[in-house]
């Protein structure tokens, strides 16, 4: 319920004010004098995104192929060597598996882990938000296990679930489930008492309160949790594919590092980063579609 300050119209006294460095920033529409700290005025600038990416690339080039290369091409491949590795990978694949097979192996592990982590996490988080008893039961479990890094569990997971797909997916479930539980719990706890009271007064039963009030109200938080969990899952991918994987981006990194092929290592790192960023972008688009009310309560 924000009342917007109307923009001064042409001819108003404000118009004659001396234009400051700030007010010129976004052309003639913005006449705010306070811009630092006004988060609503900060939007992602596409121009600066390009500058940032270009600068990163330039720095990379400078380190590896500049006038005085600081790092040896063997330990830190240049952008060009990495690009060559990408072209080879795209055309011929790596270790008897095509590029698509590697990428899809990783993608499907991450998505399976996310899916199961979400299916477990949302109900547990909701239960913790709705019941004193269940919160008491689950709270210590969540708080104890959440900080444990997935990599630390790998040896045990391999012993329990073998070196096949199961241990890898389970590790990724582990990586995502705690985030989903905490986000769902926060979403449930965030519902205002007056919304629930209003719904009861309108004849809703407990099930309807859950379905039509608590669930949609928790959706923004759950969505944020999903995005965070997706990031954590990609971050865990290399660990998950450390042992016993033939295909996968993480597995490729591990295998290539043993042959000291840093160009392939770096290429896979970039691919993981790009896919992760792309998925986050998709999630953000979905969010603005599915949860248009977010932040406008």
């Amino acid at each position: 319920m924000s009342e917007h300050v109307p923009a001064p119209v042409a001819g108003s006294p404000v118009e004659d004010a001396k234009p400051s460095r700030f007010s010129r920033r976004r052309g003639m529409q913005s006449r705010k004098t306070v811009t630092f700290g006004d988060a609503s005025d900060v939007t992602t600038s596409k121009g600066w995104m390009l500058v940032s990416l270009g600068g990163l690339f330039l720095l990379w080039w400078w380190f590896t192929r500049g006038p005085e290369p600081i790092l040896d091409e063997k330990t830190f491949p240049s952008p060009f060597a990495t690009w060559d590795a990408f072209v080879d990978w795209w055309r011929d694949g790596y270790r008897r598996a095509s590029a698509w097979e590697h990428a899809s192996a990783s993608l499907s592990r991450v998505l399976k882990g996310m899916l199961i982590g979400t299916i477990i996490g949302i109900p547990v988080g909701f239960a913790m938000g709705l019941s004193r008893v269940l919160r008491g039961i689950f709270d210590p479990i969540v708080e104890l296990f959440r900080p444990v890094p997935p990599l630390a569990l790998l040896p045990m997971f391999i012993m329990w679930f073998g070196i096949g797909e199961e241990s890898k997916v389970n590790l990724l479930i582990w990586a995502s489930v705690w985030v989903m539980i905490i986000a769902s719990r926060a979403g449930v706890l965030g519902v205002s008492g007056s919304k629930v009271h209003a719904a009861y007064s309108l004849g809703a039963n407990k099930w309807q309160i859950l379905r039509y009030v608590i669930l949609p109200n928790a959706l923004p938080e759950v969505f944020t949790g999903f995005r965070v969990a997706l990031g954590v899952s990609w971050g865990t991918l290399v660990a998950a594919e450390l042992v016993g994987a033939e295909k996968g981006l993480g597995a490729s990194i591990y295998i290539a590092s043993r042959f000291f092929r840093m160009d392939i290592v770096l290429m896979n790192i970039v691919i993981i980063g790009v896919i992760g960023a792309f998925m986050d972008l998709v999630m953000r688009l979905l969010e603005s579609r599915l949860i248009p009310w977010r932040g406008k309560g």
Binding site: M1, E3, S192, S194, K195, H197, A198, A199, Y200, S201, L202, G203, A204, N205, Q208, Y212, V213, P216, N217, L219, I291, P292, W293, K296, G297
Partner: protein, 294 residues
């Protein structure tokens, strides 16, 4: 139409350190159907607690509340609720918010229709027809209510696109959709600017006249309590109780007389000053009670 009866209601809140606060002490009153009761008093006088007890969100520590002879044990749709703000569902548009109550009753409405319908049709067909009928009835009801509160054509708007005053109009329409016997309002205009507030006071009076429903309205504003209240309780704190009850003429004529003139009339001003000094007195007593600021 059902009368409301509040008998010897007390409310004691236990504090963590073993202390307790008497939010309400032995409050009793009867409210005939169709009255507009305003509750006025300083913070901590228990007016919101009283409203929440009537709504059924709180169970009193002692005493009984009955509506039409039936004890109130929990929230129910014969008692609609309008909150100050933030109680609308922002994931739904305006029309869906207003339709929320009928939608929660959709099953029951269908069952009711199916009982009346003749048995010649197949169960599936009968269900489909009943479903359609309930849906179109709800739609017509929602459109009518949006009309009543002055939001014609706003059905498709998102809640966050509306101003505070318009949001409260939606809240009123949503509450009316279930045909409650009593409408409970917890500072419904408290978050609005002065001009919007006056307009909304007129709307509340209009709804009260047109629907003939019983309304209990909690407010901090002396003027609002006087203007809207057909009956007014001034409540006092420590322990929360009804200090004085008034029967007032202003609400009755509020729609036909210019409200600005009414509020400037000698009678209105005299009452306003009386109430103000009464509440000031209470506030000062509280200050003294807390160690003396003055």
């Amino acid at each position: 139409m059902k009368d409301l009866s509040v008998q010897n209601v007390s409310m004691v809140y236990e504090l963590p350190k073993g202390d307790s606060v008497q939010a309400l002490h032995d409050v009793s009153f009867d409210l005939e159907a169709g009255r507009l009761l305003t509750l006025l008093g300083p913070s901590g006088c228990g007016k919101t607690t009283l409203l929440n007890i009537v709504a059924g969100f709180l169970a009193p520590s002692g005493g009984t509340v009955e509506l039409g002879g039936t004890p109130i044990t929990g929230p129910g749709q014969e008692r609609g609720m309008v909150f100050q703000q933030g109680a609308l569902f922002e994931w739904q548009n305006v029309a869906q918010n207003v339709a929320f109550g009928p939608r929660m009753n959709h099953r029951r409405s269908i069952t009711r229709i199916l009982e009346e319908v003749d048995a010649s049709k197949s169960p599936e067909e009968a269900y489909r027809l009943a479903d359609l009928r309930v849906k179109s009835e709800t739609k017509a009801l929602v459109n009518g209510l949006l009309n009543t509160v002055g939001l014609t054509g706003f059905g498709d708007k998102a809640i966050y696109e509306l101003s505070g005053g318009m949001q409260q109009r939606v809240a009123l329409a949503r509450c009316l959709a279930n045909e409650p016997e009593v409408i409970l309002m917890d500072e419904p205009l408290g978050a609005l600017d002065a001009l919007t507030r006056e307009k909304m006071q007129g709307l509340i009076l209009k709804l009260w006249k047109e629907t003939g429903k019983t309304i209990i309205l909690v407010t901090h504003s002396v003027e609002e309590a006087l203007f809207l209240g057909d009956k007014l309780f001034v409540m006092a704190p420590r322990p929360g109780r009804i200090e004085k009850a008034y029967e007032l003429p202003f609400a009755e004529v509020g729609l036909t007389t210019d409200p600005r003139k009414l509020k400037a009339s000698a009678e209105f001003i005299e009452k306003r000053e009386e109430l103000l000094s009464m509440i000031w007195g209470m506030e000062e007593q509280i200050m003294g009670h807390e160690g003396g600021m003055s």
